[in-house]
């Protein structure tokens, strides 16, 4: 195990809650109960991620994925962030489900945050949750689209 990853597990970059955020998204894995929350501070004119915070109740691999992905998302435009997310999906889709799920749940949280950002622009305020699908058996997840928590 690389010492860089050990440090990242023990002291994950950008970890924590953001009190004043432009967008918040939740990624969830229904099978394991793992959850990732991403908070974004977005520059409204350029739509660039100025700051990012994230939290999770997940495992070590999720922590490392969250740390690495948050570093990638920071400074990117939302569009570039989504492109990166799609590239992640492409890369992990053939991984063993348990490993793929840890990266996917972080990427799903980013998608949810972008959807939240778009909704807020229209004056809508609700909670956006995106569920892990690539690494769950088909049929397990029914509501893969945006869901609203009451």
């Amino acid at each position: 195990m690389d010492s860089k990853y050990i440090e990242m597990m023990l002291d994950p970059p950008n970890y924590g809650e953001m009190k004043q955020f432009s967008a918040k998204g939740i990624g969830k894995n229904k099978e394991t109960g793992e959850m990732v929350i991403i908070y974004l501070k977005v520059d409204p004119s350029l739509e660039i991620v100025e700051d990012i915070k994230w939290q999770t109740n997940g495992c070590g691999t999720t922590i490392v994925s969250g740390g690495l992905f948050s570093q990638e998302y920071k400074g990117k435009s939302l569009k570039e962030g989504l492109d990166f997310t799609n590239a992640v999906f492409e890369k992990i889709k053939d991984n063993p489900p348990a490993d793929a799920a840890c990266g996917e749940v972080v990427a799903r949280a980013f998608i949810a945050a972008v959807k939240d950002y778009e909704a807020r622009k229209k004056g809508e305020e609700r909670e956006f949750i995106e569920y892990v699908t690539l690494s769950c058996p088909p049929g397990e997840v029914n509501d893969r689209d945006i869901s609203q928590k009451t």
Partner: protein, 264 residues
């Protein structure tokens, strides 16, 4: 009062993890007793907040412990204690008196601390076992801390006495597991205070779902313990993980009892 609660939360963690950083003995025993006293204070302050129709949370700043000897630890511990401020009242008089006593305790000798060295060595364990042990401890230390916070929050918010007693038992169990895992992490040089637990984990709408998911997690934890026990070629550690594995069985019973108690 929420700020006092948060500072007490930090003080409890620093005392608890500080205790586990020491080699087992007089200092660690004393600090663990102090940590338990801080935890009781924390519950009393939480209860007071609820009585005043306020709620509490488990928010706190990130805690990074890096001390390399006992003198350094006690300097930090005393400075945190001196920084605590309380209003008047019977509860706070009690807390102040406890903390004044803690302040009077000075280290009798300077002990070297290697708990945060990140050396990742443990007796003669091979690299594969060390990595498996590190990953297990990293995940379980967070999980036990999370469980203590979730059950404490739930216990302070329930008026069902049967549920409250079950939560109390589960908290004792998790405190024991946390302490045991931290002492092993300390020997490994990989001790660290876990990350902050997010509100979404303990402020849930549905206790039943939480308990049902918790039972699933306990079953997984049992499997992890079993796998680790067979992977690690160290008789003492294997015996310990088997023992923890058996304890998880009764957690499941307690959680099932809690599920039944909700409907009573």
């Amino acid at each position: 009062m929420i700020e006092i609660f948060r500072k007490k939360h930090k003080l409890w963690l620093i005392t608890f993890f500080g205790a586990c950083a020491f080699p087992k003995g007089e200092e660690s025993d004393l600090l663990l007793d102090f940590a338990n006293i801080h935890y009781r204070h924390l519950k009393w302050i939480g209860k007071e907040l609820i009585k005043q129709k306020e709620d509490f949370d488990w928010d706190r700043e990130k805690i990074e412990l890096k001390f390399t000897n006992s003198v350094e630890f006690f300097e930090m511990f005393h400075s945190l204690l001196k920084d605590m401020n309380y209003p008047q009242g019977l509860l706070f008089d009690r807390i102040k008196a406890d903390e004044e006593y803690m302040l009077s305790i000075k280290p009798s000798k300077n002990i070297a601390i290697t708990a945060f060295s990140r050396e990742l060595t443990y007796k003669n364990l091979d690299r594969q076992s060390i990595e498996a042990l590190f990953t297990f401890l990293f995940e379980e230390i967070y999980k036990e801390y999370e469980l203590i916070l979730v059950y404490t929050y739930a216990q302070l918010h329930t008026s069902n006495s049967q549920l409250s007693l079950i939560f109390e038992d589960l908290i004792y169990e998790s405190l024991y597991h946390l302490k045991s895992f931290c002492f092993i992490a300390s020997k490994l040089g990989a001790l660290a205070v876990p990350r902050v637990v997010m509100k979404e984990v303990y402020r849930f709408d549905d206790l039943k779902t939480f308990l049902k998911e918790g039972i699933e997690e306990e079953l997984k934890a049992k499997e992890q313990c079993k796998a680790l026990s067979s992977l690690i070629k160290d008789e003492e550690l294997s015996r310990f993980f088997d023992f923890i594995n058996h304890q998880e069985d009764y957690h499941i019973v307690l959680m099932q009892e809690a599920l039944q108690a909700i409907d009573k």
